[in-house]
Amino acid sequence: MVRTYGVVLAFVLLVAVVAAASPGFATKTNIFNLFSQWAPAGIMAVAMTFVILTGGFDLSIANGFSLCAVTAAAVGRTEAPAVAFLAALGVGCAIGLANGLLVAGVRINPFIATIGTGFILGGITLVATGNVAYTVDNPGFATIGAGRWHGFPYSGMILVACLCAGGLVLARTVYGQAVYAVGGNAEASRLSGIRVGATIGSTYVLSGLSMGVAGSITASQLSSAQANINPDIVFDVITIVVVGGTSLTGGVGSMWRTAIGLGIIATISNAFSLADVNPSYQDIVKGSIIIGALALDATMRRWAGRARPGWATRAPPRPSGRLPIAGDRDP
């Protein structure tokens, strides 16, 4: 029980501590701002959850997301915002397909494959923009990024919608079951007739789409975009997924964990800002959190492994200690 829901407790405690320490934290303005600020990373974390659940990794999201933002801004200068965002989604989809084919088709290790595509995408973005920012004058472009409804940002709504949709797909659809099965045991899934390649590949397409959405939101928020918007975002996204308790080896995890992870990372980040701490210290803390979370995950799994000796056996029953009652044994 602790193992499963401990992370919720940690989040609640964290929020309590931060709210007490920084009076500016628990205000509507601040919280709503957080939603807006973390929407791009959060949306990409939703897709990353799928990727990690199948045992994979997508390290191309930082550069992919920049390229999508640039696409949105570039198109948004002359076309309607909807067209611009659709273009960004298209680019994201293409990136996802490329990643998916490399990992599931050519069977390149996802770590290596996505680092490679990440570099390529970064290069493409630089070449295309000449390292100059595209700015968009059209005020309609800024709606989804900066617009609010009774104070709550549209980007935050998109984030919540993605979290809910992603969670629903994972928990209640056949596709979601396939994701868990493939992540849990790809070979057994293959021998059961599941299309392992398509399942794995599709998670990268989802990741690509999330880059499109996130890129659109960021471009809209700033009304501009350029190469290398936020190179560290990939670590934020992976941290969000892993801190929530989804296992890096695949097959174990859920979308609510990603939501909690997002809450934890956003809160910590906000706490630093409110306390006006040097941003460099944030990096030290973030790095420590990543290592801490992974170490905890590894330790917990080792404990679980010890309690169940071997893959296919139950824990041996303990003798009850009430064995022979009738006096002493024979000499």
Binding site: T173, Q177, N185, L191, I194, W311, P317, L323, I325, R329
Partner: protein, 378 residues
């Protein structure tokens, strides 16, 4: 049966000339398998120690007290009643005599009260209709030029030493490995050799793999595993229907003597025998024309073995054709209508039901092995 672990104990002890029965809490003991006590009161402590040890090692045990007051022995064995112990009362046996009298069949019969290792001869006639024909199958690495036929409702056993190519053959048939070449005719229609599991399934061939780790996803529930092979059947379009799945899983696994109340637990939490049932159960509802079972009784206890054999026989009686591989030749010979013998990747013999015996199989295999040792000139 490993008679080294087995003596014939009786768990009574003598105190001042009168016999006192022993009471113990059998709650931690799981069912099946047996350790029976040795005569001579001095061995009582040994008997108790063995039970404790067995409980720690999770060797399911029952203790039989052939001489004591049987009514006082608590046994967590639902199938046995004290009345069944009566015929077992023996006294003054030595270990050797006990081993001779308590044959495997008798022990199993005593334990389960019903199932024997030899499945009851269910009225089963093999139709003449040929369901599978393999011609000149070759797989890179082992099986070479193997040809055989399989009829509807037939159980064919595949025997051979480890490394003789049995698993490779099954996996090639099931599309699990690529690179196989050969001619395949299924239900009268010639098919290209399956290059993927899915294409083999379309031809009606399913595989229950050798390792349980290849057959089940440990982190998913038992019910999920059972229906992993046909997720669409327990879903409405893209949406899963987990309650329906649980019900259908219970329908499938119930007849296999599986504790259906535990279907929601992760598959990794079950015993070897239960897991083996899950591995088989997940294909049952898809009714393949040919079911391939690789090491179908490995690492499961005696009672579960008997149940698996009964299941296999029942499936064949209903028209499924089955190819079984087992290193435990006794079980293989018991259940198969015909035995194909492999050695060094070649089919070296085919034994029909009556003439198939462990002895003949081993002789065939070792003839080939010996000839190979002597060199090509032999």
């Amino acid at each position: 049966m490993d008679y080294e672990k087995l003596g014939v104990f009786y768990l009574g002890r003598t105190v001042g000339g009168t016999r006192e029965p022993l009471l113990y809490d059998a709650k931690d003991l799981t069912t099946h398998a047996v350790i029976v006590g040795m005569t001579g009161s001095g061995k009582t402590g040994l008997g108790i120690g063995l039970i404790e040890e067995a409980a720690i090692d999770a060797i399911p045990t029952i203790a039989i007290d052939p001489k004591g007051d049987l009514g006082n022995l608590l046994l967590n064995f639902p199938d046995l009643s004290p009345a069944q112990f009566e015929p077992w009362v023996e006294e003054g046996l030595t270990g050797a005599q006990a081993a001779e009298r308590w044959t495997k069949d008798r022990l199993v019969n005593a334990m389960l009260g019903r199932a024997l290792l030899k499945p009851p001869p269910e009225p089963r006639t093999t139709a003449a209709e040929e369901v599978l024909r393999v011609e000149r199958l070759s797989v890179p690495g082992a099986p070479e030029e193997i040809s055989f036929r399989l009829r509807r409702g037939e159980i064919v056993g595949l025997a051979g030493l480890v490394g003789s190519g049995r698993t490779s053959l099954l996996r090639a048939l099931a599309g699990a490995d690529s690179g196989a070449v050969g001619r395949l005719v299924v239900r009268g229609r010639e098919r290209p050799w399956p290059r993927s599991v899915r294409s083999a399934l379309r031809s009606g061939i399913a595989l229950a793999p050798e390792e349980r780790s290849q057959g089940l996803v440990a982190s998913l529930s038992a019910a999920a595993n059972v229906w992993l092979t046909d997720m669409a059947a327990v879903a409405s379009g893209p949406m899963r229907r987990d309650r329906l799945r649980l019900r259908r899983a219970a329908e499938t696994m119930g007849p296999l003597d599986f504790d259906v109340r535990r279907l929601r637990e992760p598959a990794g939490a079950f015993s070897g025998g239960s897991q083996q049932k899950l591995v088989v159960g997940k294909w049952l509802h898809r009714r393949p024309a040919v079911l391939l079972m690789d090491e179908f009784v490995r690492g499961i206890d005696v009672g579960a073995k008997a149940q698996m054999l009964a299941v296999v026989t029942r499936l064949a009686a209903r028209g499924m054709s089955i190819i079984v591989v087992s290193s435990e030749l006794e079980e293989l010979v018991d259940v198969a209508d015909r035995v194909l013998v492999l050695a060094r990747g070649r089919l070296i013999g085919e034994l029909d039901g009556a003439e198939a015996s462990v002895d003949r199989i081993l002789r065939l295999v070792f003839d080939v092995e010996a000839a190979a040792e002597k060199g090509p000139a032999a």
